[in-house]
């Protein structure tokens, strides 16, 4: 995974977050976070007690203590608010940029008779046809009905290179707020007014529509439950102490409560979730819901299209296989000549490979071929035969011979009709048989065989075309496997080809000869087995499968139907990003779990700091529990409260960045995280509280 900047460095973000931290003190906002609400209420109580003391008794060591506790309790709430505001900050900044693109532009609406009228973009309704000329902004989301144009989508994707949008096919969707650079488009509007992609995007990045995810809700319930349990433990401590003749003040009781309830995770939970969405956004992926991000961490099966995702788009020539008795150089030369008229990507890849391998023979380059400079083997005119779907061959007719290259059965049929001087029929048949075997051998390895033949020597050999797996895919699948996720390659190829590519790319399974509905069935079957499935797609016929999948990543280049069906949109249109998305999802969940564990294990130390301090006067024997040997009861309580507040600040970078994620075995990951966050959470407060105690005592604060 790409390392991103740990924290935004824009000072404006921090200023804005600081202001927002205070704004979030509003009890209506605070009430959404039960843990912080309790801390807020506690702060209010101690502040009231402090004010009461101040008025009645004036300034003293006691009031100073109450004042400091109140201050740090408020700081605890503010730190938590700040973390959330900072996490939201980046999205808000981006939303502001997006808003600039959402200007109300005039639109040319096409009326029945072909006349246009100028209306405001906000007046457009779904079904309206609008005309957009070069240089104008597309007024609304829609589908191209007529024309093709270069469109600048940088307002949304941040990518300045223009993209082509055209009617029909999978490149027909356009987004409001983007600009047509050339030509003219007729677009059918698909959005309701005010519900454009841009509007949704603004709402998403700003977090205005942010809904808590199922796991976040459950965790919030647990944190609220723990808060109530500890509230009970602290409230009952007052009468317990009275039984022993000790009267505990409200300040120390609130301090104990705040230290025991899970403030660390309670304060950072929202920030962790927002930061997770933001990490996706920074990779140009828009998650339409937080639920999708969470599901990404849970994915069990990844469905990946072969073409474009696992392999480069086209087959490439990989090898020349001469028949026995044929000179390899002769085959290479023949293949080169026979492909000179083949403008398909496959044909070009043969020429490229032949040039590399036949370079030493001084063979003519592509340009010399096209100039038809003196051709080897003769001095007359040469005619190039281009590849067609009917003949499935390409070739060249030279004065002394003809060369053909193409699909095995087509070329062999062509050879069959020829007579070769000095070669018996049996020999010819045997050579054809030989060629068949060579072709089958290539096919069985997942390649595509092309046979090369000439009118002089018959079959010369076979060209091995194969799908080229994108570099680095094997490693990525290795990592995915380490996470316990199964990968399935989807392809229209036959089983043999599919199997070979699957083996080469290192995917776990494949679905060959797949039709769009097969994909849907596969997803439904996997889900019936309790698995979560992620896939990427862009075409209209992907839409049902995208809608069915748990994580459906749609390419920004995709059709409107596909974009409606998926729950994530990749603005870069890179299908392999699914892998990163899964990692981000897992990272989000691990961060949440790690900080929860840390927060809960923090409690142990705080007990040993505060309980003896509470009873220092009435039950001095409990001083034996003060393992940290803190300098005074007041210092003990204050140190614990300060630690509790500062640990939130200390963990903000971790919450926003996420814990470092490494793909590895589950048991191993669990042990490592437990050691760091469980044991660390147990030990850290002992050290931290002691240090703070030494510091505040040295400063004379207590």
């Amino acid at each position: 995974m790409k390392r991103t900047r740990p924290l935004p460095h824009d000072p404006a973000l921090y200023r804005r977050a600081t202001v927002d931290a205070f704004r979030k003190l509003d009890p209506r906002i605070l009430a959404r976070n039960p843990v912080m609400f309790v801390v807020g209420a506690g702060s209010l109580l101690t502040t009231a007690a402090f004010a009461h003391d101040l008025v009645l008794h004036g300034w003293s060591a006691r009031t100073a203590f109450g004042g400091q506790i109140s201050l740090w309790l408020w700081a605890t709430v503010l730190f938590a608010n700040f973390a959330e505001a900072l996490a939201e900050g980046r999205g808000k900044a981006q939303a502001d940029t997006l808003r600039n693109a959402r200007r109300d532009t005039p639109a040319l609406r096409l009326r029945d008779a072909g006349v246009t009228e100028e209306v405001s973009a906000s007046a457009l309704l779904p079904g309206d046809l609008v005309v957009v000329e070069a240089g104008r902004m597309i007024p609304a989301d829609g589908t191209v009905m007529e024309g093709a144009a270069a469109v600048d989508e940088s307002a949304i994707t941040g990518e300045s290179a223009p993209v082509v949008r055209e009617s029909g096919g999978d490149r027909s969707a356009v987004t409001g707020g983007t600009t047509v650079l050339s030509d003219r488009l007729v677009i059918r509007v698909t959005q309701e007014p005010g519900k454009s992609f841009l509007d949704r995007m603004i709402a998403l990045v700003e977090g205005a529509e942010r809904q808590k995810t199922p796991n976040e809700i459950a965790l919030n319930i647990l944190l609220a439950g723990l808060t109530i349990v500890f509230l009970l433990a602290v409230v009952t401590l007052k009468p317990f102490a009275l039984f022993h003749g000790a009267n505990l003040g409200v300040v120390v009781l609130v301090a104990l409560l705040v230290c025991l309830i899970p403030t660390t995770i309670g304060g950072l939970l929202a920030a962790i979730g927002i930061a997770g969405m933001d990490r996706l956004l920074r990779r140009n992926v828009l998650a339409m819901s937080g639920r999708a991000v969470e599901a990404a961490g849970d994915v069990d099966v990844l469905l990946l299209d072969k073409t474009g995702t696992i392999t480069l788009g086209n087959r490439m020539a990989a090898d020349f296989v001469p028949l026995p008795g044929v000179d390899r150089a002769e085959l290479v030369r023949a293949a080169l000549l026979a492909s000179s008229g083949d403008e398909t990507p496959e044909g070009r890849s043969i020429v490229d490979l032949a040039r590399q391998q036949g370079g030493e023979t001084g063979e003519a380059s592509r340009s010399t071929l096209s100039a038809l400079s003196p051709l080897p083997g003769g001095s007359g005119q040469a005619t190039r035969i281009p590849f067609t779907a009917q003949t499935r061959m390409s070739g060249i007719d030279l004065p002394d011979r003809q060369l053909r290259k193409g699909a095995a059965d087509a070329v062999l049929a062509w050879v069959d009709g020829l007579a070769f001087p000095g070669m018996s029929n049996q020999d010819a048949a045997a050579r054809r048989e030989e060629a068949h075997r060579a072709a089958d051998a290539i096919a069985s390895r997942g390649g595509t065989p092309l046979v090369v033949a000439s009118t002089v020597a018959g079959v010369l050999g076979v060209i091995h075309l194969k799908d080229v797996v994108k570099p680095g895919m094997r490693d990525r699948f290795e990592r995915i496997r380490a996470m316990g996720i199964r990968t399935v390659m989807i392809t229209g190829d036959n089983r043999l080809t599919a199997k070979a590519i699957a083996a080469e790319a290192g995917v776990d399974d494949f679905l060959a000869e797949a039709k769009p509905e097969d994909k849907l069935h596969l997803i439904a079957d996997l889900q019936k087995g309790g698995r979560l499935v992620a896939m990427s797609g862009d075409g209209t016929n992907d839409a049902p499968a995208l809608a069915q999948s748990d994580v459906g990543l749609v390419m920004n280049t995709g059709t409107q139907a596909a974009r409606e069906a998926g729950n994530m949109i990749d603005l870069d249109s890179d299908p392999t990003k699914l892998i990163e998305i899964v990692e981000i999802g897992k990272q989000l969940l691990i961060t949440r779990g790690a900080l929860t564990t840390f927060s809960v294990s923090n409690d142990v130390a705080k007990y040993f700091a505060i309980i003896p301090a509470l009873f220092a006067a009435s039950l001095p024997q409990l001083g034996a529990l003060d393992l940290m040997r803190l300098s005074s009861p007041e210092s003990a309580v204050l140190s614990a409260v300060i630690f509790n507040a500062l640990i939130i600040v200390a963990l903000i970078p971790l919450a926003l960045r996420g814990v470092r994620y490494r793909p590895r075995g589950t048991a191993q990951a669990l042990r490592a995280n437990l050691l760091v966050y469980g044991l660390g959470g147990l030990v850290a407060p002992f050290v931290g509280i002691k240090c703070i105690d030494l510091l505040i005592t040295a400063l004379g604060l207590v």
Binding site: A218, L222, G225, F243, D300, G530, K586, G593, Q621, L622
Partner: protein, 590 residues
């Protein structure tokens, strides 16, 4: 501790480890309707009960219906017991002509027995008629244990089943648990105890002439048959007030050992019933291992503190014997300027026949499991020995725990552990393939909170209200007595710390409320969890799933039990046994 003590402990755990897995699988087999060699004999009885009760044994119930049947049955049992107690004076089988108890004592007792608590605010042989003993103790001892087993099986089904509506049939579970599990264990168990000299007769008492020539009435009765179910069913209500310290109720060391095994037998086996239901024996062993480890720690600590005794005792012994100690190495002691008296084991409140270790072990066993039978007075344990018994209960009676309730209580902690730490493997938490979401967490939190509410709440109210006047001791020890009473009732243990005049309306009513909340405040949420999990579509358990077996999980589960379970009560414990111990070291006693 002596080598013999270690041997006894090893033998105890060894036998338990050997017997629990097959018995657990057997319980799963019979509760799921499997046939055994007992069926030719008991099958007709089972079918007769179904016919008489109009029960369709094959009908599966959703959790709401299951819980409703369970509550209805419990309510009926409560009414029966309450009525019998209230009218004990006019009902038959009352040879000693005991008067009826007060309404609040009757209510408290009836609640106590239907909730498998067996808190006794009265002395059995001096207050209860034979009919009362038979209905309250014998009948409820069986069925309250069977109810626990049924609820536990329903929870196991909820975890094991996939996309199912039902979690079983309460009536079938109840009948099968009684007929095929409790009865077959009780008959040979009781005979074994009679073989050890335990009393078993229908006579009420006989008169004996003491050496001084006085006539003493010695109560007897059908003791063995009641003792075996009181232990197997983790009920703990004694036939005699002295409970398992009474020679007729615990005649020999072997009988003592058998009784301790009987307490842990079903709670330990039910772990493997869950293992069989979910087909994961390793998970069962892991959970069992956690229980065994916490038990072992508790037993060793209690024994350690009891052997060490108190400084006051040591000084007293040193003063009377004139030498530091016979067992202390004399040459070393001579070089120490002010010899610290050698520790004197704490024998106060212990039966001399059992001694320090067997008493400590029994105290740990009976508080780990929600049994509450005692062979020594817990009030007289050293402060830290008493702390262990309190903590054992406060963890939620899940270290083996009550029959059934121990396991579903432990499942609650397993769910909490999975939820708290499960995210750290990078997936949303699931328990054996079942996702743990808001609903399960809400219910688990309720089950965690509900017993704490009466436990801490009533202790707090009593501490500043009705408590001090009822206490036999002042200060920290008195506080422990109050805390123990509400801990024991809210966690359905039933053992008493004594030293507390508990038979007053306010105590009877508050402990009754605590017992009800403690029992059903955990059971009902856990049944709801079962219903919710049963309906879930499981995701396949793979290498990527959160591992709920092995050492890492065992350590995690133990930590969650200690941090979430114990830290809640640490403030209260600090003001009870902990401060008492620290004061004792300073020479301050209560």
């Amino acid at each position: 501790m002596t080598p013999r003590d270690y041997l006894q402990l090893a033998l105890f755990l060894g036998i338990l480890a050997a017997v629990s897995p097959p018995l657990g699988r057997y319980i799963h087999h019979v509760l799921e309707g499997g046939r055994t060699w007992l069926h030719p004999l008991l099958g007709p009885v089972e079918r007769l009960i179904y016919t008489a009760g109009g029960v369709d044994p094959d009908r599966d119930h959703p959790w709401q219906r299951y819980a409703a049947c369970l509550l209805g049955f419990t309510l009926a049992g409560f009414c029966l017991t309450f009525g019998v107690l209230l009218f004990q004076d006019v009902l038959p089988l009352n040879p000693q002509h005991f008067p009826a108890p007060s309404w609040d004592l009757a209510l408290n007792t009836a609640v106590s027995f239907v909730t498998n608590t067996n808190w006794q605010a009265y002395g059995g042989e001096t207050a209860m008629s034979h009919l009362s003993q038979m209905v309250a103790l014998t009948y409820q001892n069986f069925v309250s244990a069977a109810v626990g087993m049924a609820a536990c099986m329903a929870v196991a089904r909820g975890i094991a089943r996939a996309e199912a509506q039902g979690i079983g049939n309460f009536w079938t579970d109840l009948v099968r648990a009684t007929l095929y599990v409790l009865l077959p264990l009780c008959v040979p168990g009781a005979l074994l105890l009679v073989g050890q000299g335990m009393v078993q007769t229908f006579a009420a008492s006989f008169a004996a002439v003491t050496p001084e020539g006085a006539i003493q009435t010695i109560a007897v009765g059908p003791v063995a048959s009641q003792v075996i179910i009181k232990m197997l069913g983790t009920n703990g209500g004694g036939f005699f007030n002295a409970n398992a310290a009474h020679p007729f109720e615990n005649p020999t060391a072997v009988a003592d050992f058998i009784q301790m095994l009987a307490i842990f037998l079903l709670p330990g086996s039910l772990v493997f019933t869950l293992g069989a239901a979910v087909r994961r024996p390793r998970h069962a062993w892991t959970v069992w291992g956690v229980m065994a480890a916490v038990f072992l720690a508790g037993a060793l600590l209690t024994a350690h503190f009891e052997y060490r005794g108190t400084p006051a005792m040591a000084q007293a012994v040193a003063a009377t014997s004139g030498s530091p100690s016979a067992s202390a190495p004399a040459p070393a002691a001579a070089s120490v300027p002010a010899p610290i008296p050698a520790p004197v084991p704490n024998m106060e409140g212990k039966e001399v026949r059992f001694g320090v270790f067997a008493s400590s072990l029994f105290a740990t066993v009976t508080t780990d499991a929600s049994c509450g039978a005692v062979n020594a007075m817990h009030d007289s344990l050293t402060p830290l020995g008493g702390l262990v018994t309190l903590l054992n209960m406060q963890l939620g009676e899940i270290i083996f725990g009550g029959v059934g309730s121990g396991l579903y209580g432990m499942v609650l902690f397993v769910i909490l552990t999975v939820f708290l730490a499960g995210l750290m493997v990078g997936r949303t938490p699931d328990y054996l393939g079942k996702r743990i979401e808001g609903r399960e967490v809400t219910l688990a939190v309720a089950a965690l909170l509900l017993p704490a509410l009466p436990l801490l709440g009533f202790t707090a109210l009593a501490a500043v209200g009705w408590g001090p006047t009822a206490l036999g001791n002042a200060g920290a020890h008195g506080f422990s007595e109050l805390l123990y009473a509400y801990t024991s009732s809210a966690q359905n243990n039933g053992s008493a710390f004594a030293g507390l005049a508990a038979n007053s309306p306010v105590f009877n009513l508050t402990t009754a409320a605590a017992m009800l909340i403690g029992r059903f405040g955990v059971m009902l949420p856990m049944l709801a969890v079962a219903g919710s999990l049963a309906a879930r579509r499981p995701r396949p358990v793979t290498d990527a799933s959160f591992p709920v077996e092995g050492a890492t999980f065992a350590l995690l589960l133990t930590s969650v039990i200690l941090i979430v379970g114990a830290l809640t009560y640490l403030p209260a414990l600090s003001l009870g046994p902990i401060v008492e111990h620290l004061q004792m070291l300073e020479g301050r006693l209560y």
